[in-house]
Amino acid sequence: MPIIEVKNLTKIFGKNPAQALKLLDEGFSKHEILQKTGHTVGVNRASFSVEAGEIFVIMGLSGSGKSTLIRLLNRLIEPTKGSIFIDGDNLSKMDKKSLREVRRKKISMVFQRFALFPHRTVLENAEFGLEIQKVPKEERREKAIKALEMVGLGQYLEQKPNQLSGGMQQRVGLARALANDPEVLLMDEAFSALDPLIRKEMQDELLDLQGTMKKTIIFITHDLDEALRLGDRIALMKDGSIVQIGTPEEILMNPANDYVEKFVEDVDRSKILTAQHIMKRPETINIEKHGPRVALERMREEGISTIFVVDSKRNLKGYVTADDASEARKKDVRDIEEILRTNVPKVEKDTPMYDIFTVIHDSPIPVAVVEKEKLIGIIVRGSVIAALAGESEVSTNSAE
């Protein structure tokens, strides 16, 4: 069961949303509705569900409704229509008291501009959520310190937020959210105010933390690189509607429409695609069964000049060339090990394509793709080029 389920969620800003809702149902666009009624469509009938433990990224251009959508999820903004289920409970129908309980226990938020309380120390900031829940002082101190240590701020407990750098301030923001031990983290452009290097660092750290914590994270960004790095799945928004939801690969490979494509086009594919996306099924011979004769036969059949050699468990042993094999057959050598070459060019299955270039450039033979020393595929130079040529913009980017 998904932890969050959103159905037909709609937010219209303005005094009399009923009329705008009707127009929306009749298929008028955000722009037309604004002109006709003066009402702004913030979010337009969004439906999606988020699984526990997932990082769900929402991206879109400025004004597309990301912040509105994420604030609907904890009802900082009241929905005009539609429903939000968390753990099966209908958040959109809850009274104030139950809503507060959900905000205290289940959902925490991290803000773009940190939103730390300047009159409180780092520790007091991290404690805030627990203090609101009236957790006894000793206990909340302990939890807050633990959360601060997790984000590497154990040394700064008594500082005021404005004494810290931006990256550190956002760590406090993260610790404040984590101290509650929520199931869901809402992060609205949490890293957008940070400079690029710090930003990368924070992304890595979030992924690290996520590896141990397994929270459900809803992360907003307008940066595709960030979305691809963090997201298990990505939802793309335009004018308040969700236009595509998918894994990073799905979004890149099959953009649902022009809008998505436009968004995607300036991404350097060589950074996103990895070895496993472009590898082919390898032709192999078994070192325990086959000799030079079989090797030569297979190479002739497939029209190739080298063949990889594995054992019965598919552990990569090396390769042999057609020249060596025919030489061996002439000399009646039976043992393949006599002609085995072991200096195999190889990459891991999740090596980014960018790094494969350098390996394949120097290599006369295809590159082996391995997972724990087992051969799972090969990459020939042609397939790298082909993958990049999929988009002309992409290939020019990567040539630079």
């Binding site: 604030r71 925490s108 939103a115 309380f117 009159h119 959520g129 203090e131 609101i132 005021k160």
Partner: protein, 286 residues
Amino acid sequence: MLNNVLDFVPKIPVAEKIKQFTDWVTNSFSFLFDPLKKYFEDLMEYVADLLGAVPPVLVILIVAVIAFFISGKRFGLPAFSIVGLWFIYNQELWDHLINTFTLVLIASLLSVIIGIPIGILMSKSRTAEAMITPILDFMQTMPAFVYLIPAVAFFGIGMVPGVFASLIFATPPTVRFTNLGIRQVPKELIEASDAFGSTAVQKLFKVELPMARATIMAGINQTVMLALSMVVIASMIGAPGLGRNVLSALQRAQIGPGFVAGIGIVILAIIIDRFTQSMNKKHDHV
């Protein structure tokens, strides 16, 4: 002839109505005003006696030491306090100073106690803001002397009506600045507070009031200054203190004593002003 057009209604008896209303309030609520007056009179006498019992030299020293610390360990304010207070003592105005200070202290405290909750109410409700703002404007623009009349009607003469009049005159800044301070709290911090599940009361005490503190303190500073400026006026209805010296000097056209008492008020004003202001600054830098 054209003026007759304006005479279509005879003079409306507004003044009479107000008098009737005041009389009615005085009579109907005397059961409230009389004990209130008694209670506050006792309280103020007690405070004045208490302060008066401290030897002046000790008061001067304590003020100087506090001044030293709140002005960031500089010597200007302490030096000024010592010389100024000594001057008042030297002019045999010490008892009057104590009386004035008591009046200002009680009036300001009451203003703050009443003003902050009203300011909070205004910040939370647009309707309340729309209703209270014109009343505040009225209270502040009405010449302060006018308040003396109902004050006397309700409380007779003495310190208590003085406090009452300065309460009306001096409360508006605290109300306004409290409202302003809370409305100025960044939206993000309100969101953060809500997002963690604060109740309205938790939000008020843990976020809004602390964030608005500097602004509220600026309002309180103004309130105290207005209360002090009311001192001279309140002496017209028998409130004791430096104001009474000014008043009697005025009545007898004694320029010398009048100025001396006036300087006493200025000295007190400067010290109080610096004290309330630097309490504010000190916290800002932490």
